[in-house]
Amino acid sequence: MPAQAVKFYQVGSRAVGNRLLDERLRSEQANPQRGNALNSGHRACQGCGEALGARYVVDAALRATDGKLVAVNATGCLEVFSTPYPESSWQLPWLHSLFANAPAVASGVAAALKAQGREDLRVLAQGGDGGTVDIGFACLSGMFERNDDVFYVCYDNEAYMNTGVQRSGSTPPYARTATTEAVGPEPGAPIGKGKDVPRIAMAHEIPYVATATVAELHDLEAKVERAMSLHGARYLHVLVPCPLGWGSAPADTIKLARLAQRSGLFPVFEAEHGEVTATLPIRDRVPVEEYLRPQRRYAHLFGDPPRTDLLERIQHIADRNVARYGLDRS
C-alpha cells in the first residue's frame, strides 16, 4: 500500500496519529498500548490540562526508557487528584513526600539507584508551578547545580489551583487570582514580577532545558525523548491550561495552549548547556487579545471601556518573546 508514497496532507503531522501514517510517525498517544501512566478515575476537573500533560510526558518517558522509570511528585493538584489514599491513578513506581522537596527526593532516588547499580532505571520528578517555581525552588536549583541525573517536569498552570487559585511566581501580569484581585488601576497580578524558570534553569547551564504545551503533542514527545537520551539534570516546562483557575471552558484547554504559543506569550524552545538550540516557530500568529479574551481571569481587561493600555503591555511581552526567540519565521 503506497501509504507514504506521497506527502501526507490531510492532517499534516499535527494530529495525534492517523490511519494513513506509518506507525513510527504517530505519537505515543495514538498507540493503544501506550503506558497510560495516569489512568482513568482520577479526580482532576473536566478538561484538566495538567492531567493531560502529565500523561503525555510520562507515557513518552516510559516509551523512551522502555518502562524503566520511577516518578517523584511534588505536592499540588497533580498529586492530590491522582492519589487520594489508598487509591492511585499512577501505573508506574511513584513517590510523594513534601511540597518543597520533590527535586531533592528525586536526587536521592537517583543516588540510591546508582548505589545499587540500577542505573538502567531512570528518574522523573514532576510538580506544578507552585511546587517548582516557588516552594521547591531551592531544591530544584540545588539539583540543577549538582547536575543530578533527574528529569524534572513542571506543569505550569500559572497559579496555586489546588488550594483555591492563589498567585504563584508563574502567574502572568494582570491575571486575576484569589490573592491578586481585579481591582484598582493595575488590576490582577503585578507586571514585572514573577520568574521565568526555563531561563533560570538555562542559567545553571544544565544539559537540557525545554518548554512545551499540551497543544503540540509531537513537539512535546520529541522533547521528552531528547531529554531521556541525555543524563544529568534536565528540565521541561509544560504549559497546561486550567479551566478552573483561568475561567475557561473545559473544552478549550488545548485551544488556549495553542493560542498561548501562537500569540507569542508562551515561547516554545529547547536549550542545551545554556544555549537555545531550537524554537518552535509560530504558525499563523494571533494578537494576545485572542488568547486572553476567552479566559475569565482577564475579563477585567475587556470591560467597558476595555483596558487597551494594559493589553498593549501584554502585547509588548509577546512581541519581546517573538524577537528574543525568533519565533516569527513566516
Binding site: 492532517v11 494513513l20 489512568n39 482532576a44 473536566q46 478538561g47 493531560l52 479551566p243 488545548i254 485551544k255
Partner: protein, 540 residues
C-alpha cells in the same frame, strides 16, 4: 484487615474504582454528518466515503462505493460540472478538493483494470420498460437490474448514450470511454433495443409491470428572428450531433452563436475546431446571469471564443446580422434600448434551449404536462400509475448528473411500487458545516490542477482537452479531503482525553467513549479535526 492498624496499611487500590462518568452533564457522541459535497451532488454520491477508500490506495473499494450511486465514473469525471467542488468546505481553507478529477482517475482505473459492476440480485420476475437510453434511462436500468428486475431499454437512436453521445463534444468526452461504460452496464443483462422509437406507450408496455420514461429534451427551442433568404441559421444540437458523429459541417470563418447555456459554449468551441477564426457568443443578459457553467465559459474564452453580453439578434442576412443592445432593468430583465449594430458573420448557430417532445405521453390519461415538461410526484411517478419519468423531460436542472440522479431515485421508487411497499425515506443526516471543523490540524495544500492541453493546440482538433491525474496526484488530491463530519481515524480523540476515556477499537468507527470515566469536558469534540463528534445533553 481487623488485625491491621487504621489507615496506613490499606492495600493500594486503583482509581478505576472511581467512576468519574457520574460528573457528566453532557456526553460526546460520534456522528456521521452529511458533507456539503454529497449534499450538492445531484446523483447523491457519498463522496467522502469513496475518497476515504481512495486515500489509502484502495481504488477498487473506492470505485465500488462510487458506482453504487453512479455507474459512469469515467464519463462523469469528464463532463460533470461538479457542484460538489463548489460546495466543498476546503474552498474556505485554500481551494476545493478536486473531487471530479479523482472520480475520473477511479473511472479510468476501472477501465484499465477491467473492474465489473456488482452482480444483480436474484430475479424478481418483474419487468420494467425504460424509454430512452440517455444518462437517466441507463442509470435507472442499472439500478433496477441490480435490484433483480428484468429491464428492457428502447431508444430511438442507433446507439445508446443520449445527450452524452449527441450533445457533448468529443473533446470533452471521448466516445470510447462512453462506449466502455455503457457496455459494462448492459453486460449486467439489460436488453437494449436501439432504433426502436416508442410511439404508443400503452401498447409498448404490454408485458411490462412498470415503465420509466427518460426521452430527454431534444427539440431545439425556436425564437422568431427575421432572416433573409440566403442567411445561414443552424441549430446547435445539429451542429454538435454532426461533429460528434465525425462530420465537419461547413460553418464559415465567422460564426455567431446565439444563447448563453452550456450548449452555446459547446457549439462555439466546436465552431473553433471546425475552422472558424472568429466565434462570437451573443447573449441577451450578463455573464453573471448566464446559465452556462463557469468552467465551460473559462475554457471557451481560453480557446479564443469571444462573448457579447446584453445583446439580442434582431435580423439575420447573408454575411451579416443586426444586434440590439439591451439593458437590465431593476428586476434584472433585459430591456431593448433601440441601439443597433451590424456584425459580419457567415452563419448563426441557435442555442436557445431545448423542449420536450411529449407526443409520446399526450394520450395517457392522468398524465400532466405543464410548461412543456412532464409532471411527476415526489415518487417520480407521473399521473398514470406505473409510469415514472425523469431526466430532462421533468422539471429540474438539465445535466447529465441530474439525469443519473433521477434514474437512481426513480429506480428506488419503481422497486417499491413493484413490491407494493413504500420506499423507506433515505435517513436524513445533519449537515457537516465548515464551522464544526478544527482546521488547525490540516496542512495547507493547494489543488492539483489537471493538466490541460495548450489552448492554442486544442482548438485545432477534437482531442480531449482536460487530461487525467496520475496516481500520485490522484492520491494527493484524495488526501486533501477534510472528511467533513466523518471520522477518518486521526486518533485525536483518543489522544486528547485527559481521562483516558476514549477507547480505540477495530471496526467501522475506530473509537468508542468509555462513559464510566468520561467527565464530559468536550475536548475530544473541540479537537476533532472533522467534526465527527458532538455533545449531547445527558439524560437525567
Amino acid at each position: 484487615m481487623k488485625s491491621k492498624p487504621f489507615a496506613i496499611t490499606l492495600d493500594i487500590k486503583s482509581s478505576l474504582a472511581n467512576h468519574t462518568g457520574a460528573w457528566r452533564t453532557e456526553r460526546p457522541v460520534y456522528v456521521d454528518r452529511w458533507p456539503p459535497c454529497s449534499a450538492a451532488c445531484p446523483a447523491g454520491e457519498n463522496v467522502q466515503a469513496w475518497l476515504y477508500s481512495a486515500e489509502d490506495g484502495s481504488y477498487e473499494t473506492a470505485w465500488r462505493r462510487l458506482v453504487a450511486d453512479n455507474p459512469f465514473p469515467a464519463v462523469m469525471g469528464r463532463v460533470c460540472y461538479h457542484p460538489c467542488e463548489t460546495a466543498c468546505n476546503r474552498a474556505q481553507l485554500d481551494s476545493a478538493v478536486g473531487i471530479n478529477s479523482v472520480e475520473r482517475f477511479l473511472g479510468d482505473e476501472a477501465i484499465k483494470q477491467g473492474w465489473q459492476l456488482p452482480s444483480p440480485a436474484a430475479d424478481t420476475g418483474k419487468r420494467v420498460l425504460v424509454v430512452g437510453a440517455g444518462p437517466s434511462g441507463l442509470s435507472a436500468a442499472y439500478q433496477l437490474r441490480r435490484l433483480g428486475h428484468a429491464v428492457e431499454i428502447r431508444d430511438a437512436g442507433a446507439q445508446p448514450g443520449g445527450m452524452m453521445r449527441h450533445g457533448i463534444p468529443t473533446f470533452r468526452l471521448p466516445r470510447d470511454v462512453l462506449d466502455i461504460e455503457i457496455a459494462r452496464l448492459l453486460a449486467l443483462g439489460i436488453t437494449l433495443r436501439p432504433d426502436t422509437p416508442v410511439t404508443d406507450l400503452r401498447e409498448a408496455m404490454r408485458g411490462f409491470d412498470a415503465a420509466f420514461l427518460a426521452i430527454g429534451a431534444q427539440l431545439s427551442h425556436r425564437a422568431y428572428i427575421p432572416a433573409g433568404q440566403s442567411a445561414r441559421v443552424l441549430d446547435a444540437l445539429d451542429v454538435l450531433g454532426q461533429a460528434a458523429g465525425g462530420d465537419r459541417p461547413r460553418l464559415g470563418r465567422r460564426v455567431v452563436v446565439y444563447g448563453g447555456g452550456n450548449t452555446a459554449m459547446d457549439a462555439a468551441r466546436t465552431a473553433r475546431r471546425l475552422g472558424a477564426d472568429e466565434a462570437l457568443v451573443v447573449y441577451r443578459r450578463t455573464r453573471e446571469r448566464m446559465p452556462a457553467d463557469d468552467i465551460e465559459v473559462e475554457e471557451a474564452l481560453a480557446e479564443g471564443v469571444r462573448m457579447r453580453w446584453l445583446s439580442t439578434i434582431t435580423q439575420v442576412d447573408a454575411g451579416h446580422l443586426r444586434v440590439e443592445r439591451m439593458e437590465l432593468d431593476d428586476a434584472g430583465v433585459p430591456q431593448p434600448t433601440g441601439e443597433y449594430e451590424d456584425l459580419d458573420t457567415d452563419c448563426v448557430i441557435l442555442a436557445l434551449g431545448q423542449d420536450v417532445d411529449h407526443s409520446l405521453v399526450d394520450n395517457l390519461p392522468g398524465l400532466e404536462v405543464a410548461d412543456g415538461v412532464v409532471q411527476v410526484d415526489d415518487q417520480m411517478m407521473t399521473g398514470y400509475p406505473g409510469v415514472f419519468a425523469g431526466g430532462d423531460m421533468v422539471p429540474a436542472t438539465r445535466s447529465v448528473t441530474v439525469g443519473i440522479g433521477h434514474g437512481k431515485q426513480a429506480a428506488r421508487h419503481i422497486d417499491s411500487w413493484l413490491r407494493s411497499t413504500h420506499a423507506a425515506a433515505e435517513p436524513t443526516r445533519e449537515s457537516a458545516e465548515y464551522g464544526q471543523l478544527n482546521t488547525w490540524y490540516y496542512s495547507d495544500a493547494p489543488h492539483a490542477v489537471r493538466p490541460r492541453l495548450e489552448a492554442a493546440r486544442r482548438t485545432s482538433d477534437f482531442g480531449e482537452v482536460v487530461g487525467g491525474l496520475d496516481e500520485d496526484t490522484a492520491l494527493y488530491e484524495a488526501r486533501r479531503c477534510l472528511s467533513c463530519g466523518n471520522c477518518f481515524g486521526c486518533d485525536n480523540c483518543f489522544g486528547v482525553c485527559p481521562d483516558n476515556a476514549v477507547i480505540k477499537i477495530d471496526g467501522a468507527h475506530g473509537y468508542a467513549i468509555d462513559y464510566d470515566y468520561c467527565k464530559g469536558c468536550g475536548l475530544c469534540v473541540s479537537e476533532c479535526p472533522c467534526g465527527a463528534i458532538k455533545m449531547e445533553p445527558e439524560v437525567t
